[in-house]
Subunit: 131 residues, 2 copies
C-alpha cells in the first residue's frame, strides 16, 4: 500500500507555497482547480509521495468548513489503490462509513473516493487510482 499524498488545508495557496517552499521545494506544476471539491490545489513531490496544498474556492467547500472548525493543517491522507470502487466496498464491508459511495473525478485526472474519518480513527482517507 503506497501513500499517494498528504493533503493540507490552507487558507491561501500562494502564501502556503511560500511558507513550505524552503522545506519541500516548488510544486510539480501550476495550481489546478478541482470543481468537484471546490478547491484549488498544488502538488509538491516529497520523495515518491506528495504534499497536496488545498485552498477552498468557495465558502461551501468542505475544505473551507474544515478551516473554520479546525484551522489550517493536515486534512487527509491519500493512498494508491488498484480500484477505488473496490477499496470503498472493502471499507463498507468492514463496517466503516464512507463519504463517497463510488469513485468520482479528482485532481490530476485521477479517479478518487473518500472514506469517512470514523473509518480510520479520525483520519480522512482518500483512495486514488493509478498510475
Amino acid at each position: 500500500m503506497q501513500l499517494d499524498h498528504v493533503g493540507i488545508a490552507v487558507p491561501d495557496l500562494t502564501a502556503a507555497l511560500a511558507a513550505w517552499g524552503p522545506l519541500i521545494g516548488a510544486p510539480d506544476g501550476p495550481p489546478e482547480v478541482v470543481p468537484s471539491n471546490r478547491v484549488r490545489v498544488a502538488f509538491v513531490d516529497v520523495g515518491g509521495t506528495h504534499v497536496e496544498l488545498l485552498e477552498p474556492t468557495e465558502p461551501t467547500s468542505p475544505v473551507a468548513r474544515f478551516l473554520e472548525s479546525r484551522g489550517p493543517g493536515v486534512h487527509h491522507l491519500a493512498f494508491h489503490v488498484p480500484s477505488v470502487d473496490a477499496a470503498l466496498a472493502g471499507v463498507r464491508e468492514r463496517g466503516g462509513r464512507l463519504v463517497d459511495e463510488r469513485a468520482r473525478p479528482g485532481a490530476r485526472g485521477r479517479r478518487v473516493g473518500f472514506a469517512h474519518p470514523s473509518a480510520f480513527g479520525g483520519v480522512l482517507v482518500e483512495f486514488v487510482e493509478g498510475p
Copy 2:
C-alpha cells in the same frame, strides 16, 4: 526533500493497528516506547514513507494533550534532513518558532527535532536525520 513518515495520534495502539491493518498492513516490528516523548509507537511502511501510530504512555505526553484537545488524527509530518540542527536553524533564521532548539533522541535511534506548528501553517513538522 523526502517525507519520512506521517505521525497519527491514537488513544490505543493495538486497536489502531487493527483498524489500519486492512488498508496499510502490518507494522515493521513490535511497538517501541520513546521515553523522551512519552509515547509508544509503531511504524508501517506505505511505499517508501511510513505511517507512525503514536499512543501516549502518560497523561502528560504531548500526544495525550493533542488527543484531549483535537481527538485522534494526524499529529505531525516528519521529513528526512541531513542535519536536524541545521534544519532547525533554518526555520529559526526564517523567523519560524521551534519546539526543539536542537536535535534530541527520537524513535528508531534517530536524531529528531520539531518545529512549532506556526512555522508551517498549522502543521507540526519533525526533522529526522538519515539514514
